[in-house]
């Protein structure tokens, strides 16, 4: 047995998260034996898919040191655009494309304010969130927009092999694809570099603005896709849908090991983060915990995630400083000897 590999594994965030998820699931199973029944597991997979899809785009932004607080509103708007297009007589695949294009435009607008006007992503997307929320009410008159096309509904409710909900499969495929982009492509490495040190990345010849624009556009599209899936599930697009989408996505990403400061993280952690949150939420309902305590628990998990991120980042910085000091001492020693 490779002791150092095992030590590294036990020290890794992923394993710790998996252990916590397993422990929480076991606890809920002890309290309610139906918790790990097939129907409930399918339900959890379904519940993961909407936030998980938004989390994919958000994770890339966070790794690059950016954030989009308007993701929930973009998801809502994407669903509404799709429903309006369906009502106007467009076949639903084209309506889906229209929604994705709309999401891309939303992302482009965010990127403009971040890159050209140089407003911090946190602040500008917070303002844009208000604009989109208002526009949603204007466009829909605060009424849900129906999307009564049975074939379209399958996007939100079909299953693969009779077990895996289609939205869950879409989420997993996206996570695997974007995970490969992050770890196997130059573009992915550039995202990490920008998140780690934007100035250094620029000096290395990377164009941060171009990459950040691509990430915001991508995030807008994924949020719109999540909104369309939700619309298919609900058979209409509600102006109140996805209001906590961005916060849920950030919580899942940070819980999964993605640093809010950027430069660190991966899709595997995102998956486990969203799984933990969904298992936690489903479990609290399954055991019948009073609602006010559920809200406390959900808030606590966000605080836990952000605290863990803070301490991880601090430890990582200390480790890097230690390694740098060690490297410089070795260099100085070698120079003396030579």
């Amino acid at each position: 047995m490779n002791i150092s590999r095992l030590k590294r594994a036990f020290g890794s965030n992923y394993l710790a998260l998996i252990a916590v998820t397993a422990a929480v699931s076991l606890l809920f199973y002890i309290l309610n034996h139906d918790f790990l029944a097939l129907d409930n597991i399918k339900n959890i997979m379904n519940a993961m898919s909407f936030t998980g899809t938004i989390t994919v785009g958000m994770a890339l932004l966070l790794i690059a040191g950016e954030v989009d607080l308007a993701s929930g509103a973009e998801a809502c708007f994407g669903g509404i655009v799709c429903a309006i297009a369906i009502q106007a007589g467009l076949p639903w695949p084209l309506a889906l494309v229209a929604a994705l294009a709309f999401g891309a435009c939303c992302g482009f607008i965010n990127a403009f304010f971040v890159n050209v006007v140089h407003i911090m992503g946190f602040i500008c997307t917070l303002g844009i969130l208000g604009i989109y929320n208002g526009l949603v009410s204007v466009v829909t008159d605060n009424h849900p927009v129906p999307a009564y096309v049975p074939s379209f509904w399958k996007l939100g409710s079909a299953t693969v092999f009779g077990i895996f909900p289609l939205p869950f499969v879409i989420m997993v495929v996206l996570m695997v694809a974007y995970g490969l982009v992050l770890t196997r492509t130059n573009f992915g490495r550039n995202i990490f570099m920008i998140g780690g040190n934007r100035r250094a990345a620029r000096l290395c010849g990377i164009n941060p603005s171009r990459i950040v624009t691509a990430l915001y556009v991508n995030n807008g599209m994924l949020a719109a896709l999540a909104g369309v899936i939700l619309t298919a599930r609900m058979h209409n697009a509600s102006p109140m849908a996805a209001s906590t989408g961005a916060i849920d996505a950030i919580t899942a990403a940070v819980l999964g090991g993605i640093s809010f400061l950027g430069g660190v993280g991966g899709m595997g952690g995102c998956f486990i983060g969203i799984l933990l949150i969904t298992v936690f939420s489903a479990g609290l309902t399954a055991i019948g915990l009073p609602s006010y305590w559920q809200i406390v628990a959900q808030g606590a998990i966000l605080v836990f995630a952000l605290s863990a991120d803070f301490f991880n980042s601090k430890a990582r910085r200390k480790r890097l400083e230690r390694d740098e000091i060690k490297r410089r001492r070795e260099f100085a020693r070698n120079k003396e000897e030579s």
Binding site: N40, N142, P144, L230, M234, S238, T285, S291, Q298
Partner: protein, 380 residues
């Protein structure tokens, strides 16, 4: 240092002027005297009022609501139509979900001096400030949907609303009266559960939830363990998505329940429950009802025929017309808040809550209900 002193002085002067301006509010016009026509007091403020509303200038009313919603939009649209029939114009004022914004906007309208009456649709948590401002102004107002109560639970301002507990009870009662029609006579009642979707921060909605639960337990007194009250507050918003999540989580985590009676204080949650039933492939095991009919009407109009079988329908005109006629009576001086609708008053109340006409409807009966309301109130 000099700069700071100048700024401080300017702030002090500004504060002094502001305080002085506030004190001028005390020198207001005396409150309008209300004149009550006692001979017609049994019809004053009713649709059958023998009043020619077009013998006067149009009144200018404001619909002041706390936050945007589909219900607010529907109510405003109904007021616009009602205004044409009863000779008043209506504008809207939003509180943007903030008591401070609500009070500021309201005071601005009061100070403008051209508003004859208010329809208030707001959070009763700041009712004292609201009543103080409006009573001082002398402008009559009518509460819509949410009543103001004193510490003894007595309604203290005329309100058009609904007896929330009764509405919930009626919804639950429909379920227990009709489940056999959908599930057969020999369904095992010990496996019937109630999924009741609540929104606990609203006392009105909580009252509906209590009514639903009581109706269920009256029919199934041994099924107390089969009652699941879930709170939409945990989802953060009033949306079908939250209803879907809560319904699916509760149903899949309780396999001992084979048949679900599902009810909700809000139609959005019921819609989510209907979608959950479809997604779980258990339409045949669900029977869903709710309080509120806007969404289900839309679904029926688009051919829906799933587990969501009924709702408590309340036409917007059933609220707006009595509210308008009652407010006009107060503005005219023919009634006061205390004398309006005395015949309808609950003995414990100081002012009347007018219970809007409502009815449990199904896909076969909803059109008839709305046609009846339109003809009763002469609008729509």
């Amino acid at each position: 240092m000099k700069k700071i002193a100048v700024i401080a002085l300017a702030l002090i002067v500004a504060m002094t002027l502001a305080l002085g301006a506030c004190s001028k509010d005390n020198e207001k016009e005396p409150e309008k005297e209300m004149v009550v026509d006692t001979e017609k007091s049994d019809t004053v403020g009713y649709v059958t009022d023998d009043v020619d509303h077009f013998a006067r200038d149009p009144y200018n009313f404001v619909y002041a609501y706390y936050d945007e919603s589909a219900l607010v939009d529907a109510t405003f649209a109904a007021f616009e139509v009602t205004g044409k029939a009863y000779n008043f114009s209506i504008t809207r004022m939003s509180g943007n979900e903030s008591p401070e914004t609500y009070m500021q906007n309201l005071q601005t309208l009061i100070d403008r001096g051209d508003v004859d009456g208010f329809f208030l649709d707001t959070d009763p948590q700041f009712q004292d400030r609201l009543m103080e401002a409006l009573d001082k102004s002398g402008i009559p107002y009518m509460n819509m949907y949410t009543a103001f109560f004193d510490a003894n639970g007595s309604c203290i301002r005329p309100t058009v609303g609904m007896k929330q507990y009764d509405a919930g009870y009626a919804t639950g009662q429909w379920l227990v009266d009709n489940y056999k029609a959908y599930w057969g006579e020999d369904v095992d009642t010990s496996t019937i559960g109630l999924l009741n979707i609540d929104f606990s921060v609203s006392p009105d909605l909580q009252a509906r939830t209590n009514g639903i639960t009581d109706a269920f337990l009256k029919e199934f007194p041994d099924n107390e363990d089969n009652v699941f009250v879930v709170d939409g507050l945990t989802g953060g918003t009033v949306s079908a998505e939250v209803g879907y999540d809560l319904s699916s989580q509760t149903v899949t985590a309780n396999s001992k329940i084979k048949k679900w009676l599902v009810s909700s204080c809000l139609e959005n949650y019921a819609q989510g429950a209907a979608r959950a039933a479809e997604a779980l492939g258990r339409d045949a095991d669900f029977l869903i009802s709710d309080v509120g009919s806007i969404i289900l009407q839309d679904e029926w109009n688009n051919g829906y025929d799933g587990a969501w079988k009924s709702c408590l329908a309340i036409s917007d005109y059933a609220y707006c017309v009595p509210g308008a006629v009652g407010l006009i009576a107060m503005v005219d001086g023919r009634a006061t808040p205390e004398t309006l609708w005395e015949a309808e008053r609950d003995p414990k109340d100081k002012c009347t809550i007018w219970a809007a006409e409502n009815q449990m409807v199904t896909k076969d009966t909803y059109k008839e209900y709305f046609a009846k309301i339109d003809s009763t109130y002469g609008v729509g």
